[in-house]
């Protein structure tokens, strides 16, 4: 949804305004919200945003947004699915959709490293359907590590068993893909 004020950026703040009993919905981006006085600093729990903005190493534009910034924003990275720009992402500290992860992928490792103690790769649950062959891939990876260890220990008997198991898994992986 585009900001109803500037029609350029994505609306990230949504209000219901009631004036003399008349209800109007307001959908604006953070820049217009601050300009038009829709958002009141301290009104919302902004602490997490502030914290994140700090982590992302961005200078917060504060209340006086310079007009020149607008043009810079056009040239910069913008998600083609939800129209969230990278600077807007930094400001609100939230992704707008799945596609944002792809659009901003070059910048993400640095951000995730700060938020997740240096980690940049998922090492947990994999969805059953969506994950596809990932389960097998992870298992092969695990077996390969184990195989290296067995070879180091010169436990060749067990290593042969593991090597066969890896082969079976690779076959399974190939079969599923076709």
């Amino acid at each position: 949804m585009l900001c109803t004020e500037c029609q350029k950026r994505t609306a990230t703040l949504h209000y219901t305004q009631i004036i003399n009993g008349e209800k109007t919905e307001v959908h604006v981006c953070e820049v217009c919200a601050q300009k038009k006085g829709y958002s009141f600093p301290g009104d919302e729990p902004y602490t997490l945003h502030d914290l994140l903005t700090g982590l992302f190493n961005v200078t917060s534009p504060g209340l006086d947004v310079k007009e020149d910034n607008f043009f810079n924003q056009f040239n910069e990275l913008t998600c083609d699915h939800c129209q969230l720009s990278f600077s807007e992402f930094q400001r609100i500290g939230k992704f707008g959709c799945t596609n944002c992860y792809d659009t901003f992928k070059a910048k993400l490792p640095a951000i995730f490293r700060k938020v997740h103690s240096g980690n940049t790769k998922h090492d947990g649950k994999i969805p059953k359907r969506k994950g596809g062959n990932l389960h097998i891939k992870k298992e092969i990876e695990r077996y390969r590590e184990y195989l290296q260890q067995l070879i180091k220990e010169e436990n060749f008997e067990e290593a042969a068993v593991i090597r066969d198991r890896i082969k079976d898994l690779e076959k399974l992986q190939g079969g599923n893909e076709s």
Binding site: G93, F95, G96, C97, H116, G131
Partner: protein, 351 residues
């Protein structure tokens, strides 16, 4: 299951079961954040997209059951009054954020152990509670529920980043594991102040419940994981488990120490609080929390024999502003609440 049933009891059915270590650990929670792959995240989505998520969840899960989680009720936020929303927040069935989100709702199981928030910061937030200290069980069940939902939903997932969430702080596992823990002796001996920074260094956060910042109302703390990326759910839960085991041990030791060094003083404080709860006529929320904490400690130490954990758990929720007003069936001023609070506490403790 109607909304009324969730509203009328302050204590959820699952809380009535005594869990392991429940003299110190009140409850365990696992929360998983998930999103629909093809739908814009709630913060940006338009009304139609949000409605489509609501309708999908309603159509596929309302009235459905999985294992112990029977007969899911769907409650839409826009159908609730301000007080009703507050009650659900005080019962921890929904987050304060959900009450403000557009086109949002929640699925709640009959035993109130499972709640699935819809269109919170993420499309789906699975929340599962267990009484006492039961991390592994909670994780196993949460995974099963996650698989159950995945049968019908294409979750936003990426090989490298894991489950994709709106906030970078949840990406990866999308999991927040937390434990609600009562630490009166560590607070009294001020040892808690040294322990919190150490726990933070392990990547876990300690927060007061109902209170702001480090000041914990009623000596209740919530300990949860900070990191969601690069560490498996099992590892996170295992690490949190060892942090909690340590906290429980330290709390037991501090209780022992207090009993031996200032037993009479402690007993006096506990029974004074018991007296105030039993006979007071006006009591503020903050004082009520502190007194209830003292009485809970008295029960755990065997000093008070005629009060159950259940009554205290119930009082914790019952004495919150939303619940009091729901009980009175009208909006109350602060001083009216303080009188009603004292009345309800007296009634519960003098049965």
């Amino acid at each position: 299951m109607s909304l009324e049933q969730f509203m009328n009891e302050a204590i959820s059915p699952w809380m009535r079961v005594e869990g392991p270590e429940n003299d110190i650990v009140l409850s365990t929670r696992i929360r998983l954040a998930r999103n629909f792959e093809k739908v814009t995240f709630p913060i940006i989505a338009n009304e139609d997209e949000l409605r489509s998520v609501i309708e999908f969840m309603k159509e596929n899960y309302e009235g459905k059951s999985y294992a112990n989680y029977q007969n899911l009720a769907f409650i839409e936020m826009e159908d609730l009054s301000h007080i009703e929303k507050r009650v659900l927040v005080e019962k921890h069935l929904i987050s304060p954020f959900l009450t403000k989100a557009r086109a949002s709702g929640v699925l709640v199981s009959e035993n109130e152990q499972l709640s699935i928030m819809v269109n919170e910061e993420d499309h789906i937030r699975i929340q599962l509670y267990f009484p006492g200290f039961q991390m592994k069980q909670a994780l196993d069940h949460a995974f099963e529920l996650d698989d159950w939902l995945e049968e019908k939903i294409d979750f936003a997932f990426d090989e490298r980043w894991g489950y994709l969430t709106s906030c970078p702080t949840n990406v990866g596992t999308g999991m927040r594991a937390s434990v609600m823990i009562h630490l009166p002796a560590l607070v009294l001996t001020k040892r808690i102040n040294q322990m919190i920074p150490a726990i933070n260094q392990f990547g876990f956060v300690v927060r007061g419940i109902y209170g702001e910042g480090t000041e914990a109302l009623g000596n209740l703390f919530q300990v949860s994981n900070q990191i969601t990326l690069g560490k498996s759910e099992e590892d996170i839960v295992e690490d949190l488990e060892s942090v909690i085991i340590n906290l429980v041990e330290q709390e037991r030791e501090a209780r022992h120490y207090l009993l031996h060094t200032s037993g009479k003083k402690l007993e006096d404080q506990i029974f004074r609080s018991y007296g105030i709860l039993k006979y007071g006529r006006i009591i503020e929320s903050q004082e009520a929390s502190a007194r209830i904490s003292d009485v809970r400690l008295g029960v755990d130490l065997g000093m008070i024999k005629d009060v159950s954990h259940n009554v205290l758990n119930e009082l914790m929720v019952l004495t919150q502003p939303g619940f009091l007003q729901h009980y009175a069936k009208k909006v109350l001023t602060t001083s009216e609440r303080d009188v009603l609070r004292a009345t309800l506490i007296r009634e519960r403790l003098n049965i």
